[in-house]
């Protein structure tokens, strides 16, 4: 029976203090009755293996004890979906950008690698920082939701809600008029602004003169044309505020061209001449080269953002052309 006593002791350890004795007395009585019954059936005392089988059938001590405990949780079923949603947002909007920037630095910035010794050390340092960030973010969100769960259990604040305050029906293919108006205004401002920059002689003052390279003329014209196209598309969207396959494709094309032009701008050593009479020419040359170099170094970041923008545009085309797309009630299905 030593095995039985050991089992009871193990169960007792996990039981709530105020009920320990009572539960153990009852459990002990039940097990002894079961053993006695079995012994009567067999006409002999049970050996250790048979007692072991009975205890094993009864279950692991921790599990047996747990059944006597009330259900406990840090974050309950009401808040858990919100908690999971917030964790996803944190991962997408905080950790993912961090990882992208870190990977860009690791791949394209020799100074970043040098500051950590070598490539492997930089990777290790970044990896450990990522873990610290991820665990801290997870911990903070969990802590906040644990506090909310306690508050919810006491005040039931989530039970007070008004159906009238539910968000309006969402149609991902609808284009907000405010977005189209914003786009029109933005492109208009761009045209107005770059019309002053048509000449490669960007600044021509006694104290400073900045001349851009000849490619600026082509870039300027292309940007102007692109802004006009974007304005036309925004105007079209304003009149018919639903994405169609054609317009979503046009958006992909204009964004793609804009992205390519921007990359070209960064890589084309655009600052051709810089004259600052108050500074020695050698230093001015250094400043000019530095400006061109930094623009060229920003290219990987521009590439990453470009990929994201084009990814979003492509997803929009897929969504619009999908057969099972969602239509809000009352919205016409065929929109050109």
């Amino acid at each position: 029976m030593e095995l039985l006593e050991r089992y009871l002791q193990a169960v007792k350890f996990w039981l709530p203090n105020e009920q320990k004795q009572d539960i153990i007395a009852e459990l002990s009585e039940d097990l002894r009755s079961q053993i006695e019954d079995r012994e009567t059936e067999l006409g002999r005392n049970l050996n250790e293996a048979e007692i072991e089988a009975i205890l094993k059938e009864r279950g692991r001590p921790l599990l047996v004890a747990n059944r006597y405990q009330p259900q406990q949780y840090l974050i309950g079923p009401v808040l858990f979906p919100i908690y999971r949603f917030v964790l996803k947002i944190v991962a997408l909007c905080y950790l993912l950008p961090w990882v992208i920037v870190w990977l860009c630095l690791l791949a394209f910035s020799p100074s970043y690698r040098v500051s950590h010794g070598n490539w492997a050390m930089s990777a290790m340092a970044g990896w450990s920082s990522l873990w610290v960030l991820a665990v801290s973010a997870f911990g903070i969100v969990t802590l906040v939701f644990t506090v909310l769960e306690h508050a919810q259990a006491k005040s039931r604040f989530l039970e007070n809600w008004n159906p009238r305050r539910l968000p309006p029906l969402r149609d991902p293919n609808q284009i907000k008029r405010s977005a189209s108006i914003g786009e029109l205004a933005g492109n208009f401002a761009l045209i107005w602004w770059i019309s002053y920059l048509s000449s490669p002689l960007l600044v021509n003052r006694p104290e400073i003169r900045v001349t851009l390279s000849h490619s600026w003329t082509y870039l300027f014209r292309s940007l102007l044309l692109l802004a006009i196209c974007n304005m036309a598309l925004a105007g079209w969207n304003l009149m018919r505020p639903y994405w169609t396959g054609l317009r979503a494709t046009l958006r992909l094309v204009t964004d793609g061209i804009g992205w390519a032009l921007f990359c070209w701008f960064l890589k084309a050593n655009m600052v051709a001449e810089l004259v600052i009479p108050s500074i020695p020419p050698a230093r001015v040359l250094l400043i000019r080269d530095g400006a061109n170099l930094w623009m060229a170094k920003s290219l990987p970041l521009a590439l990453v953002f470009g990929v994201i923008i084009l990814g979003v545009d492509t997803y929009r085309i897929i969504r619009v052309t999908r057969k099972d797309r969602f239509f809000a009630p009352g919205v016409p299905v065929t929109v050109v």
């Binding site: 007395a25 009852e26 459990l27 009585e29 039940d30 009755s33 079961q34 059944r67 006597y68």
Partner: protein, 140 residues
């Protein structure tokens, strides 16, 4: 459907019934071990890990009363339905019977509908086969 899914649904279905079974069985005073055996004899198998916490919960709700007593030279905890437990049991049994009747109605209705559909299908099949045998000479 996996056997695991069926098992989960079966347990869910049984969960509410166990309370009624335990309350009904405790109209006569019993201790845990004999109660479990009595339920098993009636076809309701309930493991100790479920039964004892359930007894405690029902007692804390005032539906059962219990006392420790010596029997066969051993201390045993005897449970019995309390006055409140009797009232609740009556209500639960009424609820159970109403639900049983409603469920039977639904099941019988569906069975009848299913049988009617089967008959319709058979009839359709017969008509089609007749139509086909008639159509063969006509097509020639």
């Amino acid at each position: 459907m996996s056997p695991e899914s069926f098992e989960n649904l079966r347990l869910e279905l049984r969960r509410g019934c166990l309370v009624v079974a335990v309350l009904a069985a405790l109209r006569e005073e019993q201790y845990g071990y004999t109660l479990r055996k009595a339920l098993a004899e009636h076809g309701i198998d309930i493991d100790e890990g479920t039964l004892y916490p359930l007894l405690r919960r029902l007692e804390s709700q005032g539906l059962l009363s219990s006392e420790w007593r010596e029997q066969d030279k051993r201390n045993k905890r005897f449970y019995r339905l309390s006055h409140d437990g009797e009232l609740i049991l009556k209500q639960l049994v009424a609820e159970w019977r109403a639900m049983d009747e409603a469920l039977n109605g639904i099941l019988d209705g569906n069975l009848k509908q299913g049988e009617e559909k089967q008959d319709e299908k058979k009839q359709d099949a017969k008509e089609k086969s007749h139509g086909a045998t008639r159509a063969v000479p006509a097509s020639r």
